[in-house]
């Protein structure tokens, strides 16, 4: 057998092996039948090309059959019609679902704890007025927000008692936003 023939045979076998792999969902005798027919076709065409004195063009013949996976999909399609998704697919769906579920809970925890912290700051202002506030530092280039052990020295306090309504409104806003995001996420769960 010449080098070119060896190469052609190898291409054909590789293609048929791929096809066999993708046909795995058929019964073994069905998949074998498909392979046998296509193999017979391929070698028939090669024989005819040789008989006509043409150079064998395996790549061109295989192109007519198309990608092995897509070819196999057409043979397998009837099994999937009206049938529940195969096991592999169900696993993919539940992975996707659990990602969405963890995203949902992470979003809920993040949003509501943010809102709670803001409410907590607003409430704490009444108990510890000196320790709660928004301080501006470096001429407004940096700020300190919230709860501090001792008021930062030399920084002006910005909001004073306004921190109570501002933090409460922010908490309300964050709550509403979180609920809307959660509603959207829920639709995609």
């Amino acid at each position: 057998m010449s080098q070119a023939e060896l190469h052609n045979n190898e291409m054909i076998h590789r293609y048929l092996n791929d096809l066999r792999r993708y046909l795995a969902r058929l019964a073994p005798h069905e998949s074998q039948e498909v392979i046998r027919e296509i193999e017979s076709h391929l070698f028939d065409v090669l024989d005819q090309q040789a008989a006509n004195g043409q150079a064998a063009d395996v790549a061109e013949i295989l192109r007519g059959f198309g990608d092995a996976r897509q070819l196999a999909a057409q043979y397998v399609a009837h099994i999937e019609e009206g049938a529940p998704p195969p096991r592999g697919f169900r696993a993919i769906q539940s992975v996707k679902k659990s990602v969405t579920a963890s995203l949902y809970f992470a979003m809920a925890v993040f949003g509501f704890s943010m809102a709670l912290s803001l409410l907590f700051v607003a409430g704490a202002k009444f108990l510890l007025p000196e320790a709660v506030g928004v301080w501006s530092a470096a001429n407004g280039n940096s700020i300190v927000v919230g709860f501090v052990a001792a008021p930062p020295a030399g920084m002006p306090e910005v909001l004073g008692w306004w921190i109570v309504p501002v933090a409460t409104l922010l908490a309300l806003g964050v709550t509403l936003l979180t609920r809307r995001v959660l509603r959207v996420l829920k639709q995609h769960m």
Partner: protein
Amino acid sequence: MNSTEALMEKWEVQLRKGTLELAILAALQQRTLYGLELLKLLQSLPSTTITEGTLYPLLDRLKRDELVDAQWVQEGETRPRKYYQLTPLGNKKLTDLTRLWRQSVTDIEWLLANPGPQPLPNTGV
């Protein structure tokens, strides 16, 4: 490719897809062929050209639907080939599809042969 050509091609693809089953059944009318022969026959006609990758899975489906039968045959030195022929059910389907096809051709030909502006006899349009 301009958009008119693209649309024409799309239409041609749709038409070919819709008539493929009829073309295969018609090609097997009172004839027993193996895949490669059938492929060459269809590829020899301008409007029924198809690829190997379309033909073989379609034959598989026709066989599952019991419209065609297949046997492996080995003659002399040649390699075994899978020959297809119509079943009685396939023959009936061919008759049905042929009737629909001819009706469709007749209707479209009639429309083409009867342009406006004169009103059409039956419908008054």
